[in-house]
Amino acid sequence: MTPFSFVRADSLSHAIQEGRNPNTRFIAGGTNLVDLMKQNVDRPSRLIDISALDLGAIAERDGGGISLGAMASNADTAYHPLIKERYPLLASAILAGASPQLRNAATNGGNLNQRTRCYYFYDTATPCNKREPGSGCSAIGGVNRIHAILGASNDCIATHPSDMCVALSALDAVVHVTGPDGDRSIPLIDYHRLPGNEPWRDNVLEDGELVTSIDLPAETFPTNYSYLKLRDRLSYAFALVSVAVALQVDASTIQHARVALGGVAHKPWRDLDIEHSLIGKPADDATYRAFADSLLSQAVGQGANDFKIDLARAAIVRALRQAAAGTPQSQSNKRII
């Protein structure tokens, strides 16, 4: 690790004041940042510990919906009675990720801002445009089994690794941030970005801005949902492909549908137009297959990850079936029904 100085923020304004200094990072649970610093992938000169800030609440919002504090742990969020009851899709996605120990330490703000798991991003001996702008992308033409099949650019084909964010995307969550220039609210679907020609920018957060909370809208999907995560082992592994589905189904007709994909792009992948086409369709395999085909019509493999296109197609159909039947994927026994 490259030496750095450390300060514990005792108020939001203190944190923002400290965040004005160059090359500082906020540290929350530390489960991603400390790892990146050990590898010298990230070398901040000063850390601002935000764990003492009053940002840990999970509370009902006026007019419905729930506010998730940025410093609430992933575990406390997933097991919160209101989340289990109203947003089981979110609880399920969080519990599909990482390990119990990591979820205890990891925070909601940190989860949103975690960096890619691209092997080259972690390996400072290799070129990587995200880590070292302009140096090139080693994953294109390299080892790219875990890389993107949608929305990639010629500069970067990395994926966003979060499970939680895939569910937040499907639930139309809104991210609240504060910073030197004041407060902003950003729909989660616009929070993460595609790599384009600025792959070092994972999301739209500006330097010195801090995530304070994440709002879940009043609309819940308590019955017809599923989070299906496919990976190289049954637990404690990042998604190769994941699918978050939230449906409203009436007499076998789809009334409302949300589908987000994880592990396939630089951000949780949603297409609102294609989703819209599901409304009024029968909840059956023909509908699901046609939907999966449209959602993946622009998908391109990079060689080692070509298999992800078929895997995603099958996973989308399965997850839609699970959601429509009200039999969501279990994150305990992992049998896919």
């Binding site: 100085s5 575990a75 097991y79 120990q101 990591l102 637990s235």
Partner: protein, 166 residues
Amino acid sequence: MDKTVNPPTSNDLQIALTINGQGHTLVVEPWVTLLDLLRDNIGLTGTKKGCDHGQCGACTVLVNGKRINSCLALAVTKDGAEITTIEGFASGGKLHALQTAFVHHDAFQCGYCTPGQICSAQGLLDEGHAKTRDDVRELMSGNLCRCGAYTNITDAVMQVMLDGSP
């Protein structure tokens, strides 16, 4: 009993920790992980370093009652915390129920992962979310065992979970 180690230098910070019931005032560099602090500064080498990257669970300890990976926690972020390591499990020369169950079920071979497994199992029991064997397998999945003692580890945890004692 307070133990103060290392004189302060510019970047160093003073923290207070209660480790296995004993108070410590320590001056640490901000880049020292809780794992390295426990092993190198305090001399509690029961907690193991497997991967140092959050990928194996060997370094699991309880911080304010919650299991976490001590290799990814900077010690300076834990000021004021109560830490329990494997050295804090047995009391008065008597093994803890989980330790007895691990012995009884032969839940290890080399034993390198065992301190982390036991701390993690205690976290699992306190959290109270595991109801079935599948749940125990899943909620112990943050602890790898290179010797592959998983079946016996699950048996040991199940027994303590169901009986309260081995």
